[in-house]
Symmetry: C2
Subunit: 230 residues, 2 copies
DNA sequence: CGTCATGTTGAACCGAATCAACGTTCGTGG
DNA sequence: CCACGAACGTTGATTCGGTTCAACATGACG
């Protein structure tokens, strides 16, 4: 079993709705697991009855076509929930983008536990609704925005989501480190590596941002960036 | 108040989880409302504290940019749920594509009722999870598929979703009537009207489908269509 | 220091958008 | 009932943004 009382996401994950006794029961069902960067936790179409909470690290949700094209349909951070409760197979793969730790549950056990704990279920519902909003917002980006608008929107969203992550002490002034490379940015935005790179270079040329290292982004002119995001 | 016992979606909407007493209580909070085709029920960014169930008709969820581009991020059918429970403003507009009837609730009342009825909340959670899967699947389409793949995927999904709708008696052999025109197909697929039209014409030329009238589609060769969908 | 993965830059190409004209269908009122 | 106009849909010519293919640069790491 797992000791949830010391869990790094104890107060942010859906578990926050549970009291000491309940969390003990949930802890008995769960098990901590380390995942290395690049490793896939769940395969698309896989019937694996598994759900999980992210403790540390960043993972991606990926949908692929038969001929190998990939689209990242979600990026999950610590305290986020992974998997498909209530009996359906996972419609996407889950792969770690950085080394990560997750807290895994058997889906059937989790479903049962959730049914008996409405507060937890409500927390999960709220999270799912937020994810749905985010996904729909992303659909607008994928369907209707130009390459530069896509990149600008992406950088703004990432700067927001990453600053909630505790790593802000390391950022002098609005800079942040992306947990992924160009190919993965391209897979998020529905672009190619080359187009992504060109847009970033262009923005650097315009002085809107700096690129101190491969994965670091410093937004110099947030207003301009917002204007570019469309 | 509303009499739910005669409701056309009584057994399919989230209300199906409620017993006679409970449905009576919910009925007191709800109110039936007719919406004309083209009329907007909820505005993007609008704080209107409203949620609803669809009784009849088809509605679209739309996200727009400042300069007028539109992306349809969801299409809802009878028994589907509309709106954003739990305190957030609606991040998209909801507009009727056909004449429609919805059963409207004040969001705060609904939230409260839902919190007191875990079964209803679980039904809503399941629905939201399904919607999220659909949205993510759609993200792959928008980000990575070509125009012909988009149109093929769209027609296949619509033929499935529309055949669950009771109107199959009117379909001789796999044909169905779309509840929307070319512009709206384009807004769903992230394409222009012209490209959409050309793809349909091309498919007709190849004999994969027939277009008996503006909004009717008959899929002649489902296997070929599936192959085109990517 | 050399190798390999990752990222950048350039040139040519292509698919979808755009711009423009023309057909078709539907509703409305004469 | 037919004539008209408006909305909707199709088709063609051209343009353009993003992909593709290819070469080269950078930086991490043994």
């Amino acid at each position: 079993m797992t000791d949830c009382s010391t869990c790094v996401v104890r107060n942010r994950a859906i578990c926050a709705s549970l009291d000491a006794t309940e969390i003990l029961a949930l802890g008995k069902m769960g098990r901590k697991q380390k995942v290395r960067a690049g490793q896939t936790l769940l395969w698309e179409g896989d019937g694996a009855p598994v759900v999980a909470n992210v403790l540390t690290g960043v993972l991606k949700l990926v949908v692929s076509t038969a001929d190998g094209r990939e689209q990242i349909v979600g990026v999950v951070f610590p305290s986020d929930f992974i998997g498909r409760p209530f009996g359906k197979e996972s419609p996407y793969s889950v792969t770690a983008m950085t080394d990560a730790e997750v807290c895994i549950f058997n889906r059937n056990n989790f479903d049962e536990f959730a049914s008996a704990h409405p507060d937890l279920q409500q927390k999960l519902l709220r999270r799912t609704l937020d994810e749905l909003d985010r996904a729909r917002h992303w659909m607008m980006l994928l369907g209707r925005k130009s390459a530069s608008e896509k990149v600008a929107s992406f950088l703004l969203e990432m700067s927001e989501r990453l600053s909630g992550q505790g790593c802000d002490a390391t950022n002098p002034k609005g800079g942040f480190e992306l947990p992924f490379g160009r190919q993965q940015i391209a897979d998020i935005l529905g672009l190619t590596i080359e187009t992504t790179s060109r847009q970033l270079t262009k923005m650097r040329g315009e002085g809107v941002l700096d690129l101190p290292s491969r994965r670091e982004i410093v937004i110099n002119d947030r207003a301009a960036m917002e204007a570019m995001a469309g």
